[in-house]
Symmetry: C2
Subunit: 282 residues, 2 copies
């Protein structure tokens, strides 16, 4: 059924039962062949069962009366396990001397929400997400702007929409099932999607951890002034000297990390240098 | 080099450099061919690289001066990921209607410390563990007795030695690497080691959770008397009526779960019945 304009009175809509319109709607509701082919081209993998690909991009909000559809939740569950194993194996083989603690940190950086959400944006996967969440497009837009400001992995400086990470995981799950559980086939796609991987040379702790460790080691007094409830801001003082402010309205931990990042930049002069020469704070 | 008795003065040891003794010591230090074959027979898998099998059974405490050896920590890290994926896939395929929450519970029951420690005991894998932890054999003995009392998965009623679960995970990691990452080959061994798997019909929440939910639902007042610091015991009262005591010196949560288990048995008459008829507590 669809609403049609009444030519006699444009404010009154006529309800018609157009079978043609229904068929069109059904087609619109499903993923088109062109969309499928575009994704397959992007990721370099052709699906045997295109239904898996469609499910991988379907959020649970994408429901319409009369149309049965499965959401990506179950595929995401499988994809998460596949991704964990693939990344674990990669770092295990590449770093024969690393103990589990180090391997766990490396894996966390490569399978975390931010890393996966960035991968989704980089490969334009968000374009194909099927959802009916009114606020989501704005969140994705905000994230897209935020990562321009922090082009590398931000380690807690940006707030990443979970659904972007979800579709990467569900896509990995879909490929794994579609290729009959071949780890090697799945790995080819994962490697491409996630590059450049975070490795031992690019792994960086969250600014808050970094600042905390630095102050402890150098016997400096560290204090945060929490104005977040009022203004969305957090201010940092080291040995009673103001060293930076971080702001983020939607999430306090992100504001905190941004404040710590500003403080680190201020204290270390050059935050990215491996051997910073910090000024004396007294 | 080894110390030998001085026939002229038994208190003075002569340092000799006996190559024969060293060789004998080296052989004793490594896993024997007979041990390897026994394990391979038990698990139904023959290793291409027997070094991996030896590492899988070597605790980090098993060190001797002059002998380099790797412990199972890294293999355990890989095995944990492999096991997670294999169990996730198994339940995913077997239960097409289960959402991730349910799948996560099922997986947790099959990859948890107690389940894996029981598997190690069932298949006698603990016999081959190479360690120098003076208290470990007693702990294993205690666990062995405890599981006689709770023959099914106890869900928190016994305290399981983590090292027993570790060797199952490291063995799975060793097989996975040895068979060139074949999930199917690894799964054949895992299925055998872990059977019977906990499935939807045998999955059971911890007694504490069960008792809590029951009391909330039936509007009953639940209280624990904590005597653990003094006697290792916890007592439970429902609507001020004493319903059971649980005792376990080494771990408070185990004592608590045992108390809840006694209480459930008391309240439900037959705890194992799917439709218990609880008495009125007033």
């Amino acid at each position: 059924m669809e609403f049609q304009e009444n030519p006699e009175n444009p404010l009154v809509h006529i309800i018609s039962s157009s079978t043609e319109a229904e068929e069109e709607q059904e087609e619109e509701y499903g993923m088109t062949d062109a969309e499928r082919e575009e994704i397959e081209e992007l990721i370099g993998y052709k699906f045997n069962d295109p239904g898996l690909l469609q499910t991988a991009f379907t959020d649970s909000s994408y429901k319409k009366e009369g149309f049965e559809t499965e959401s990506f939740e179950r595929l995401e569950y499988i994809g998460d396990s596949v991704l964990n194993l693939l990344i674990a194996r990669e770092h295990y083989v590449a770093n024969p001397e690393f103990l589990p603690g180090k391997l766990t940190l490396l894996r966390a950086a490569n399978v975390g929400t931010e890393k996966l959400a960035r991968a989704a944006m980089k490969w334009n996967l968000h374009k194909f997400l099927r959802h009916r969440k009114p606020l989501l497009n704005d969140q994705i837009g905000e994230f897209s702007k935020a990562i321009e400001e922090y082009p590398l992995h931000s380690a807690g400086l940006v707030d990443s929409p979970k659904v972007l990470a979800d579709i990467v995981e569900s896509l990995i799950g879909a490929i794994f099932l579609d290729c009959n559980s071949s780890l090697e086939t799945t790995w080819q796609v994962v490697k491409k999607l996630l590059e450049p991987m975070v490795d031992n040379t690019t792994l960086r702790p969250h600014p808050k951890t970094q600042l905390n460790e630095y102050c402890q080691k150098n016997n400096l007094q560290l204090e945060y002034e929490n104005l977040w409830e009022k203004t969305g801001e957090v201010k940092v003082y080291v040995n009673n000297k103001y060293v930076g402010t971080g702001a983020y309205r939607s999430k306090r931990t992100t504001a905190l990390n941004r404040a710590a990042y500003k403080a680190c930049t201020q204290i270390f002069n050059d935050f990215t240098s491996p051997n910073p020469t910090p000024p004396v704070l007294d």
